[in-house]
Symmetry: C2
Subunit: 132 residues, 2 copies
C-alpha cells in the first residue's frame, strides 16, 4: 500500500513527465520537417554584385550550420505579375523548432543578417511544417 508521500511524489513526477512530453511535442513532429521561407525585395539602389553577395552568403550557411538539413534558393521567374516586387526566395529546412532556434542565433546567421539588413526593402518570413 502506498504511503501518502509516495502518492504525492508519483503525482508530481507524473505531472513533470507530462509537461516534458508536451514541450517535446511542440518542438518536433515525427515524419515532419520545419521549412523556413524567406523572400526579399531589394532596394532599388542595390547593384547586382551587392545582391549576389547576399545570395552567396545565405547559400554558404548550410555548410556552416549543422541544424540546416535542406536548402533551396532561386530567383523569381513567374509571369503572373503577383510577386509584389519580391525577387529572391530561400527555403531552409530544419528537423524541428530547436533546429530553427539554433540557426537564428548561430554566429554565421547573425553575420548573414548584418550583410542583408540594409540591402533589403521588404522581407517576408513564413515557417510551416510539412512531410519529410
Amino acid at each position: 500500500m502506498r504511503t501518502l508521500t509516495t502518492t504525492i511524489l508519483a503525482t508530481v513526477v507524473g505531472f513533470g513527465l507530462a509537461a516534458l512530453n508536451a514541450t517535446a511535442r511542440a518542438e518536433e513532429k515525427p515524419g515532419m520537417v520545419l521549412k523556413h521561407i524567406v523572400m526579399y525585395k531589394f532596394k532599388d539602389d542595390q547593384k547586382p554584385e551587392q545582391v549576389q553577395e547576399v545570395v552567396d552568403t545565405f547559400a554558404g550557411l548550410p555548410g556552416k550550420i549543422d541544424a540546416i538539413i535542406g536548402f533551396e534558393h532561386g530567383t523569381n521567374v513567374s509571369k503572373e505579375g503577383k510577386s509584389e516586387g519580391f525577387t529572391h526566395l530561400f527555403a531552409v529546412t530544419f528537423r524541428d523548432e530547436a533546429g530553427l532556434a539554433a540557426y537564428l542565433v548561430h554566429p554565421a546567421h547573425l553575420h548573414y543578417v548584418s550583410v542583408v539588413k540594409d540591402r533589403r526593402e521588404k522581407v517576408i518570413v513564413l515557417d510551416y511544417w510539412t512531410k519529410e
Copy 2:
C-alpha cells in the same frame, strides 16, 4: 555537291531546329524542377470553414492535374513577426514551364481560383527553378 536549293533548305531547317532547341531550353532544365509558391492573407471576415475549403480545394489539385509532380502546404508558425499577415503557403512542383502552363489553364485549377478569389485579401506568387 549541294545544289543552291539544298543549301538553302539545309540552312532553313538548321535555323528552325536551333529555334526549337532554344524554346526547349527556356521551358525545361535537366535535373531541375520549377517550384510555384503561393501565399495568402485571407480577408478578416472569412470563417475558418471558408479558409479550410480553400485549403482542401487546393490540396485536391495534385490528384486532378498530372503536371503537378510535388505538393506541400502549411500554415505559418513563425514567431519572428515578419509574415506580413500571410498565414497559408502552398508549394507546387512542376517538371518545367510547360507543366506550370498546363496547370494554370486546367479546369480544376480554374475552379480553385473561383473558390479562393473573393476570400483572399493578399496573394504573392513566386516561381523558381531548383534542383530535383
